[in-house]
Amino acid sequence: MHAKRGRTGLLFLMPSLLGVFLFVLIPFSDVIRRSFLDAMGNQFTGLNNYRELLGNPAFRLAVRNTLRFTLICIPALLLLSLMTSVFLHRQKRWGQLLKSVYLVPMAIPVASVVLLWRVLFHQQGIVNGMFQWMHLPAKDWMNSDAAFWVLVFSYLWKNLGYDIILWTAGLGTIPDSLYEAAKVDGAGEWMCFFKITLPNLLPAFFTISVLSLLNSFKVFREAYLVAGDYPNESMYLLQHVFNNWFRELSLDKMAAGAVMTALVIMALVLLLERAWDKKG
């Protein structure tokens, strides 16, 4: 009986599994194979492609930028969204509405905002106009190192609401009685935050960081639509490298790069699963 039921489970899974094998897993195993071959795809070269990749200046620049972007954006986003959620949690009257409002950027197609970004961050655009009004020096946003910060801003803008929803869900699981007991014992707001809120949010913290990291790959859309294939050096990301290699048909480098990125993400996923298991 049980074995038969197991087969039924597989049957339910079958259509999807076939598609995943056909469109992803089988071709990806071919990519793994190619990552050990030369560019023409017939000579075994061992780890040569990987070695070449690690020495490639464009790749190194992109890795550096991507790491820098991640290390700045994710802590900034986590902090800003946590702070907002804590405030929001206590706004009984406006909380729900505001939470939905913060999610709006998720619905706005990148292609539609590009127009706004162009008008805002042009050298004679609105932002520089405001800067002048505040007596700050104007910047050529898209063609200098400032481009990196435009990207950071755009990531924060897009993902703030998403993270707020996640934090709020985490805050909702902390029983009010904990706070009440602490207040009775004379604990102040900061004390409550550090002794109750933060420790209780620790499990959520990890999940939210990983999801924020994965969402950070999507900033490429903004970067690409605003600045094209070869943007200012400061916002040249891994995704740009992949795109440009694809156009040049450097399949050997692409294959090695894809395998390496997949390994990094696989490691993150296993860590995430572990965190979920501990909780469940």
């Binding site: 039921r5 197991g6 087969r7 039924t8 489970g9 597989l10 339910f12 899974l13 259509p15 999807s16 598609g19 995943v20 056909l22 469109f23 992803v24 089988i26 071709p27 990806f28 990519v31 405030f87 706004q91 406006w94 505001l98 409002v101 999610l103 950027p105 619905a107 706005i108 197609p109 990148v110 292609a111 539609s112 127009l115 008008v119 004679q124 655009g125 609105i126 106009g129 803008w157 703030l160 869900a169 959520a204 999940t207 790959f217 490429f220 859309r221 690409y224 639509l225 992949f242 795109n243 694809f246 399949l251 294959a255 894809a258 990125t261 993400i265 696989m266 993150l268 699963e273 909780k279």
Partner: protein, 279 residues
């Protein structure tokens, strides 16, 4: 006082979140002259800086009229976007719902490994699978057709994962009792799983829609023919010289996504939470 400062801070963030919508709508209602006056510095026709207002002085629908009457390519792109999004979502419904049910409700050998693979795939950015997708689509001769986007998209493992989370929260007792009453496995899926898991299915569709309407990397890589492009690639091509049209096109592209967002709001929030936190 402290309360007021907090509310002020929250209000500023809310304004920043909504500003693009207001900006685009205001722009789409301006005539060429008004837009030209505000944007002249950005277009390189004047000194100083671009300005803006949220209330057009002389509101007009000319941008929309021009877009809808004089640019047939816009209709083609809109239709392309709709076909791609619709195709992917239907595919996810057909294959994803049953797969999620299989993962959520049955034990079978290899389940853990397969499920880990599904999670890993949903986390992979497009660039990782770009080459492999290209290789298989090339082999199947699907490049430069909408199928090149629809087929890989239809097997998105994210929607499976999301619906799985909802299906697992159905109590086992409900299913056991149906089994005792002699219901077959398919009947249980159809009469219990689907209705009780409908929230998850809607969530997956809402999140799926927002994602597909926004596809950029895939069409850019797999569609050579511009007449097949979706709106997301067409919009940035309109130059600011045709500002009124660019604004109208941006608003029309935004409209379906905003509609789905407003209609599916609760499901969207549930979906975001369900994908991250285990019950």
């Amino acid at each position: 006082m402290k309360q007021k400062i907090i509310l002020f801070f929250l209000g500023i963030l809310a304004a920043a979140a909504c500003y693009p919508i207001i900006f685009l709508i205001a722009g789409s209602l301006m005539g060429y002259q008004e837009l030209g006056a505000y944007l002249a510095p950005v277009l390189g026709e004047a000194k100083g800086f671009a300005g803006w207002t949220l209330f057009p002085m002389y509101p007009t629908l000319r941008g929309y009229v021009e877009l809808l009457l004089d640019s047939p390519s816009f209709f083609i792109m809109f239709w392309n976007s709709a076909a791609i999004t619709g195709g992917i979502l239907v595919g996810q419904l057909l294959t994803g719902v049953t797969a999620a049910w299989g993962f959520a409700r049955y034990q079978f050998p290899g389940k853990r490994v397969l499920f880990t693979i599904y999670i890993a795939l949903m986390m992979m950015p497009f660039q990782v699978t770009m080459l492999s997708s290209y290789l298989i689509l090339n082999k199947l001769e699907l490049l430069n057709t909408h199928w090149a986007l629809i087929l890989p998209g239809a097997f998105s493992t994210f929607s499976v994962f999301l619906m799985y989370r909802f299906f697992t929260s159905i109590p086992e007792a409900v299913i056991e009792s149906a089994r005792l009453d002699g219901a077959g496995e398919w009947q249980i899926f159809w009469h219990i799983g689907l209705p009780l898991g409908s929230g998850g299915i809607v969530s997956a569709m809402v999140l799926g829609f927002l994602e597909c309407w926004n596809l950029i990397e895939q069409p850019l890589t797999f569609l050579k023919d511009r007449s097949l492009w979706p709106l997301s690639l067409y919009l940035p091509e309109i130059s600011l010289q045709d500002a009124a049209m660019a604004f109208a096109a941006s608003v029309i592209t935004l409209a379906p996504a905003l509609f789905v967002f407003l209609a599916g709001q609760d499901y969207l929030e549930q979906g975001i939470v369900a994908a991250a936190v285990k019950e």
